[in-house]
Point group: C2
Chain length 475, copies 2
């Protein structure tokens, strides 16, 4: 299928490149439409990005689908830049970057039109809650937002708001990266003391993957147990499977239909890249992810109130769903949900890609033993260290691309210790083996504790979280 | 907007005609996408059909969208026929014909690939049930079917089947034409003694019309009362609003998602003519009309059985939904629903169009008084009579285009009397005024009796029919 070559496109003419991009783009769409294996899609996307870079280098301007390079337009200031970076690709199904540092998030903020979470906003959260900001805020892991100031306005004026996040349960296996939004959401629930709804999109996974309905629902319940093990308060938290909740809440379906009436195929085509070969289930699904953004989707919690502000913590790849939601909201008389966006959790092999739940060596799984954790970190965590100890001592390691260091920024709570490690590793005082040991020492107890809490979450506990009911924190 | 001219396209060149057809087709799609008033759409469709006829006359072949008339292809046998008829247009939203006799149903059977209900099939129904076939069967009003022999096989082998029909509740006003499928379905329920589910597509009407969700649901309940007044047995009948049932039956939603996974936008585009400007609600709706064709959408009636054969009596314009359903069924492991198709009930003004609930003079409404019925028939029923009494006596009237006579074929039970009227009117022995009086004498008591039964149907009765529950006729 799509082979990934590394830049031998320089021998093509601009027109040949233009045509190859068009065909490669079609290939990517076809692969996505046919739910091809993730790695095939990623290869094809990588090739597409590479072709576009070659095109930009050759032409001095971006590839435009409806503008073949026939006429030699004035190049002027936009002369070819050989060293120009490839553009990152981010949508809910594919995250691709060519940089070992990972996606360029500042560029993403500009491209998506969101706002940076700056020092001022973090200080305001601290003032409003009286709590030290979570390390994910302090370290820019939640880095972007939409309308967070509006949520804080509401909070300061004693107006209610609620949290909404979710997970697509594509398998039983969850890795530490999957916990990022939930760890942060639990903190938000604790410091603001607000209701939380968690959507398990088992219908989405049924539509996109080769799963039965029963499998998808089963994964939803199993994943819910791992989510519950993050410590959510049952009195403030409602977890729901779409397959179960849609059939037990006329209010939810009514909002889904309302949204579906106000979004055209043209719009979802533009936002999600759907094609005419996609199933009508995929095409209409975005409305189902949008509906929990509106409080009257949960009358058991909010009564008939449709004006309770929603705040959605999620990874930035989910933003397209909520750009659509925010576009629809005023047209159906509802407030726009606010958002807090996180960066992606890097794969052990490096920050170029998101992790894959289907590759056991690409991350630390929530079921890994202490020994597996140690082996995986030592064997697979991409190192920013030098080739030899002598060189490392002399030149120091590179924390910007070192995955063990990146993982520590996610999980090591102590800011001073993290800064010390950064200094020591960068200077060469700390060796790669020592850095990896620091990470193993953090991850082993973290995973062991999670496993202990997970064991307490029986089917019965999960189903109590998943029962539609009032939440005591909203009156 | 779209003006309907009557055949002055003869002065155009084939290429001009080709281009005008393309533009007019786009206009029809745009009008439909923007939910333009019905009469505007109908005018535009009429114009489109007229242009296509001119094209066929000029070119000796059908208009093909991707084949402009540039190259003078061999015309051969398909020489222009000046007298060729315009083609009828039938889809769930538009029925258009240029013939006062109405749509050519034999052609429709060929085009849709269904089977004619012939004498042999009618005899088989009579043998199987031991009942005289309903007048709608005897007179070809239900004229087409899919797999009815399979239903009879099942029935004769004591295997269960069930009936499914429905209505789109676009307003409170229902006319006698709306009752045709229900009158026939009640007869089927009586003679076969089987469960019946009736879908009120209030979500569809919300998606297509300028209605609120509450209005659409309100119409669903009001229309259900008129349907109940047809005499359905509460022990064998479940009536449901999509807006209410979707949110109270996980089994129903699961089937909707299953169907949505197995139908692409390309398919619904081909079947229903959707465009990229249509809402994702419209695009995914066909799965919701398909789902009741599968018995496990109703676990309260059929338990977990997914193999109970479904038989759908409906007007032929609904067939596209069930062609799609029959295409999907084997791919998701369910039996294909069987179908019985009816002709359209003609408007008082003539059989060229379906009636419009928004034009009070286009039909007899279920709320009309005896006086209104008399006035409407006398004033508006299109007559096949001659201009003067003398001419009529001499040449006789034309029953094929006379709407009063057509209505009698729907509602006058006595075959001999109907045949006598046909003879007398055709010979000129019966005058138009006398024919109209025959119809008024049939309609007045029919509507009065309906109104009396309708009065008995309280909100409480309607909600009992609409409560998900077991039906005693299935075990």
């Amino acid at each position: 299928m799509a082979s990934v070559s590394s830049g031998n496109q320089d021998c093509y003419s601009p027109l040949e490149l233009f045509n190859r991009i068009a065909v490669q783009g079609e290939l990517v769409r076809t692969l996505k439409a046919s739910s091809a294996p993730k790695d095939e899609i990623e290869s094809a996307v990588k090739m597409l990005l590479s072709l576009k870079t070659s095109y930009r280098t050759a032409m001095g301007e971006e590839y435009k689908a409806d503008c073949p390079p026939g006429n030699p337009a004035p190049r002027g200031n936009s002369a070819p830049k050989a060293d120009e970076e490839e553009e990152d690709f981010v949508d809910p199904w594919t995250v691709q970057t060519s940089s070992a540092k990972g996606v360029d998030y500042d560029k993403l903020i500009v491209r998506f039109g969101s706002s940076k979470i700056d020092k001022e906003l973090i200080n305001r959260v601290e003032r409003a809650t009286g709590q030290r900001p979570h390390r994910f805020l302090r370290r820019g892991i939640f880095f972007s937002h939409r309308d967070m100031n509006q949520v804080l306005d509401a909070y300061e004026n004693k107006k209610p708001f609620y949290l909404y996040t979710g997970r697509g349960p594509s398998s039983e296996a969850m890795h530490v990266g999957h916990l990022i939004p939930f760890i942060f959401t639990k903190w938000l629930q604790d410091v603001f003391s607000v209701p939380l709804v968690i959507q398990m999109t088992d219908d989405e996974k049924y539509l996109w993957k080769d799963l039965t309905l029963d499998q998808a629902y089963g994964y939803a319940v199993e994943n819910a147990k791992d989510i519950i093990a993050c410590g959510f308060d049952i009195n403030k938290t409602f977890i729901f499977s779409d397959l179960a909740y849609m059939g037990s809440s006329p209010a939810f379906y009514k909002n889904v239909v309302k949204i579906q009436k106000h979004v055209t195929f043209n719009q979802v085509k533009g936002i999600f890249g759907f094609t005419d070969s996609d199933s009508i289930g995929k095409i209409s699904f975005p409305a189902i992810q949008a509906a929990p953004s509106f409080s009257n989707s949960f009358p058991q919690i909010f009564g008939d109130r449709s004006d309770v502000q929603c705040l959605i913590p999620c990874a930035i790849d989910q933003d397209p769903y909520f750009r659509m939601t925010r576009d629809v909201a005023p047209r159906i008389g509802y407030p726009k949900p606010a958002l807090l966006h996180s960066t992606f959790f890097p794969a052990l092999q490096g920050a170029q890609t998101k992790m894959s739940a289907s590759d056991p060596n690409s991350s630390i799984f929530l079921t890994d033993t202490a020994k597996q954790i140690k082996t995986k970190v030592n064997k697979h965590a991409f190192s920013g260290g030098r080739d030899t100890v002598e060189e490392h001592r002399q030149l120091g390691g590179n924390c910007d691309v070192d995955v063990s260091f990146m993982y520590l920024t996610f999980f090591l709570e102590d800011d001073d210790r993290l800064e010390q490690i950064r200094k020591d590793y960068s200077s060469g005082a700390m060796l790669t083996g020592e850095l990896k040991k620091e990470l193993v020492d953090v991850l082993q107890p973290l995973i062991a504790e999670h496993q202990a809490r997970r064991k307490e979450v029986t089917d019965e506990v999960a189903l109590r979280f998943m029962a539609p009911r009032p939440l005591s924190c909203f009156q």
